[in-house]
Symmetry: D2
Subunit: 380 residues, 4 copies
Amino acid sequence: MRKLRMGMVGGGKGSFIGDVHRKAASIDGMIELVCGAFSSTPEKSIQSGKELYLPQNRCYGTFEEMIKKEKELPEEERMDFVSIVTPNYMHFAPAKMALENGFHVVCDKPVTLTLEEAGELQKTVEKTGLIFALTHNYTGYPMVKQAKAMVKNGDIGNIRKIQVQYLQGWLATAVEKTGQKQASWRVDPKRSGIGGALGDIGTHAENLTEYISGLKIKELAADLGQFGEGRTLDDDGNVLLRMENGAKGTLSFSQIATGEENNLAIRIYGEKGSLEWHQENPNELITRWLDQPKKVFTPNGNNLYPEAASASRIPSGHPEGYLEAFATIYKNFALHLMANLNGVNIENIEYPSIDDGVRGMKFIYATVESNKNNSQWTKI
Amino acid sequence: MRKLRMGMVGGGKGSFIGDVHRKAASIDGMIELVCGAFSSTPEKSIQSGKELYLPQNRCYGTFEEMIKKEKELPEEERMDFVSIVTPNYMHFAPAKMALENGFHVVCDKPVTLTLEEAGELQKTVEKTGLIFALTHNYTGYPMVKQAKAMVKNGDIGNIRKIQVQYLQGWLATAVEKTGQKQASWRVDPKRSGIGGALGDIGTHAENLTEYISGLKIKELAADLGQFGEGRTLDDDGNVLLRMENGAKGTLSFSQIATGEENNLAIRIYGEKGSLEWHQENPNELITRWLDQPKKVFTPNGNNLYPEAASASRIPSGHPEGYLEAFATIYKNFALHLMANLNGVNIENIEYPSIDDGVRGMKFIYATVESNKNNSQWTKI
Amino acid sequence: MRKLRMGMVGGGKGSFIGDVHRKAASIDGMIELVCGAFSSTPEKSIQSGKELYLPQNRCYGTFEEMIKKEKELPEEERMDFVSIVTPNYMHFAPAKMALENGFHVVCDKPVTLTLEEAGELQKTVEKTGLIFALTHNYTGYPMVKQAKAMVKNGDIGNIRKIQVQYLQGWLATAVEKTGQKQASWRVDPKRSGIGGALGDIGTHAENLTEYISGLKIKELAADLGQFGEGRTLDDDGNVLLRMENGAKGTLSFSQIATGEENNLAIRIYGEKGSLEWHQENPNELITRWLDQPKKVFTPNGNNLYPEAASASRIPSGHPEGYLEAFATIYKNFALHLMANLNGVNIENIEYPSIDDGVRGMKFIYATVESNKNNSQWTKI
Amino acid sequence: MRKLRMGMVGGGKGSFIGDVHRKAASIDGMIELVCGAFSSTPEKSIQSGKELYLPQNRCYGTFEEMIKKEKELPEEERMDFVSIVTPNYMHFAPAKMALENGFHVVCDKPVTLTLEEAGELQKTVEKTGLIFALTHNYTGYPMVKQAKAMVKNGDIGNIRKIQVQYLQGWLATAVEKTGQKQASWRVDPKRSGIGGALGDIGTHAENLTEYISGLKIKELAADLGQFGEGRTLDDDGNVLLRMENGAKGTLSFSQIATGEENNLAIRIYGEKGSLEWHQENPNELITRWLDQPKKVFTPNGNNLYPEAASASRIPSGHPEGYLEAFATIYKNFALHLMANLNGVNIENIEYPSIDDGVRGMKFIYATVESNKNNSQWTKI
């Protein structure tokens, strides 16, 4: 076998998430970056590629060029898959074109700019039968996998209450007016879509909730905020949840929560026990019980389910972080793709899919609609 | 000067909150228990009083008897005030009678069974000019006072987002069917009123929110849960908040949050900074800032406002707890009453009042109404 | 039965520990302060007593006068016991005189100024058969009692390693030169004895270690520090421990640990599990295991031993603090004394005794001796 | 420029630290693994290399073969440096041979089996002028770098007290008798040297102490433990420290601290402030002050020194862990080597060196000697 070959769309100099994708893809030694359309001009793309030690001829000016040229390369040289790390409005076109030209895809979230695009992309994935992974990276944490496994195995019983939050403070001031690149596209509906913080981080909260609980959100009642002067997209939101099984909950997100860094956290209460997890301290899963003391699980620690134990790379007490969780998405995608290339069937390989992407878009749309109707309950 | 003399209504053997009131009243050495109508029968009341080292003749069978008999005692012997620690339905009558007979009152919350009663009691307090304190005890914590002072002094700027929760798990199973005394009256509308967990702990969350933020809740959208089989009152609730200044937030409470002990917590986000406080770890106030590292304030620690510093009894690092916070309500009530008895004017003595009680009842009513209307926004 | 009557030696205006003793003695409603020799002059003593609502004739100028006069009072009026809250050099004389005149004693630690005095006091206690309690207050915390019970019941197996620390920072600067009363006597060998921080807080660490582990320190190797300019007593110390069963450990204390408030903490490692407790967060006992996840016990929480469960006054999640732990020493002393007055035998009532006091003095002497001999191993 | 080419000695299947080195080397995209002598037989080495997607001809049976064959390869193909990830007894020979054949070296710690070897290796490094990095990986954490910078800039003032610990529990039972590979060589003096836990983790504690404080340990008094039945090397140790500036402290390490995972922690007290850091929660640096509240610094958070800020790869709140810290050693080594290859002078590139290695060996020797002399103070 050989390493998988990755081509990247976006992720040029100054990109935050592009660098994250590259580091995540490289940790497990299964993937190598071979080409990219990193920036909006060929010059910038070449410059970015040079800093990544890529040959100039594999640095393309556009994703169209990349897909076309790579397809013409001999099979043993050309990229296997495309990693799309551009702002939201630039997900759909490269993803669709890649798939239609036989390349597998890893794509950042939210999956597309509109729900319509998401539906079309879903059909393309189904039609081509290629592998598509969405980087809802927080599901890669070992303790998130332990939480999911505990719910699935009935440890905490039927779920009654869920509280999830994703709080950041970096848009508390008008940083988008200072030319900050990360901020400027996120507050722009043309590049972000109809959700602001909602799409950027609210979807992570939604995805995490459904991932761990194994339950779908049935309906929601949302109150969005626009606190930053002149913003046309939400930068804050509070949402009531009703889950398909009758559980109730709250989902709150914000990018104006001053001083918060990346505070994604969830608590899930079942009839027999409850779970609590904090992304900023990801190596603890706090569990509480009807008749036992609080128990705290740790990666590679005692009494884990196999799904969680296998998601750790190093012994207990050696903290794993954001990049490792992100890498687990890439790792599982790579395992699936390698098996695929080898003609091997593989089971129980898990990573967020195009269906998660469509689900996230539906969540965005339902939230915006509920908010327009003064927080009326709205089905997803 | 002398110690103040307290008579108690309720709080007989097996009472949780009666014992708390007695301990809280005694810590600062300003109050002595002199009499009580502790239970529903004279025999039980005498038995309870005996265990409290009271003479038999000061242990009464009913609050009516107590108030009447104490009034007949010489001024230098009779009780100064009544402390009411009964279930909700037994607050109004003794409070009103005590006031009308010239006795000051400390009363547990929620202040009455109905909003109507609360309004009438408010008038009685105003008419008699006597002192009335409501034991929203969580406002007695030094770090809660520091939080309030920081908001008031503009440290965190204009408030934009609030998240408050009060989570317990002790009603996760049907303990009311086991004869557990604390549970049985709390799930009974006749003794609790129209709110279950809502009245019992939701009002604490509401009071804490308005106390620290200095802002009124303008309107709310509520979704109540009844998870315990056969319950007719809520045992869980999730509420969206809109504050008078435009801030938004969530308020969540539950008594079916399995494994939670007494998890009251609040986060308040302003334009310049934010505050976080947890009742189960009450000796830390976590603050976050636009441009400084996280700072953690502690009781009697560095850089406190006077309101917070004066609320501590012991040096920093010597933890103060629930009883001490509760005692601060009694202490401030006592300071006010002593000043009053001495004909001295006293300012800046702060404790929850009948107005907080009426406010709490309005919160209960608005929440129940919103819930009936499928979470429609409802003004308090 | 009636409340017990307490007379106090020391604890006048501005006293820290006197106020703590009074609050601690009053919380459980079993003890009332009836008299005191609060200060060094009758005038100051009367003034202090007045603020405590005591009649003038029970405020004495000296402990000798108090003991003599109280003894002449009718039995139903006079104090039952003396509480001694003076600096170390003023423990021995009032304790001895009280005992010899038939009064029981509660005394602050370290028990005396010298080891010789401690031995003599021990004989007096034995000779008189009266009750003597030493306020090693940290043993009163419910989670400390749970730790002791877990060790005793073999839960963590044979102990191999102990790490204990007591760190404060309040003497990091020369506060004794600013007239600070608490500091000035503590750095003065005439009033403190041969140990500075060693006697003041090191003894607490020693007592806590032997209390929880059930093991005696066999020998120690100590390195004391004098960091504050001009100090003649230690303000810092590091000690290697060898326990009687072969376990090893470290004991560290400091009053120049800048920024530390009252950081007493202990970790004990056995063959099967380990325990960790922090005084500044006293309502958690962290336990770790060979083959189970970390478990965190809480007061009145799940799975406690009776000794711990009975030491809590309020439901789980309602934090208890320093005063409550201190109060537990008084409570158990009071239970013992009441039983004694009623001619009842009582078992399993536990509080620190004169033997703990003598042990603490031996620890001080051994530590100072080891330090003089360049940290040579020295038997206690 | 191009990626640097790494050859590995050790790190075959089942290796813990080899995999860590490979992941750490790959994260930043500057290094590629090109060859290895992974195991003791050519077959195993080839098998390990195959799983790493290496061509068979670059998988060698011995390090001697690897160094010899690689040297014969054209310059544009052959490895640039050797990474040595074998047990302690196999560090010296490959390191020395690599250096003498013109290859730079990254080596795991402790640097060699004996102090003599360390001295000889130091001379070889000096003589060859090649780059040698020792993986004292904990110095790579951003918050460790912030701590060092705060000390260096005088923020906490002159240091008075240090407490450092490194506690693990994985040798609490006799796992070496179960065939556990990691355990078996660590308890074997032939492969580990004269220190057991002392060399394996005690040296990390020593290195971290001197790294952050900028102070050398002048002398120490040590008490080593051998708790595991039949062990001939220490599995536990407690050490008193005296630093060159007069500061005092304790250093404790253990591999029989039941339930501990990888609890490396340090507290440093200066005249103006103090620092606390825990490896298991590495993204917080807790600081305490004479006259300010506790402040908690975070990677890429507010108010960091440049040395700390530049050590983070991702925004604040996105946790970085053990692998990232380890990667920072490789990154700085790579930056230095790249500059070197480009003939560029580079300053302020920091990573542990051969001098740290020699220092660690001296620490091991002094500790063992002190222990033999019943904890007599011994100079390093």
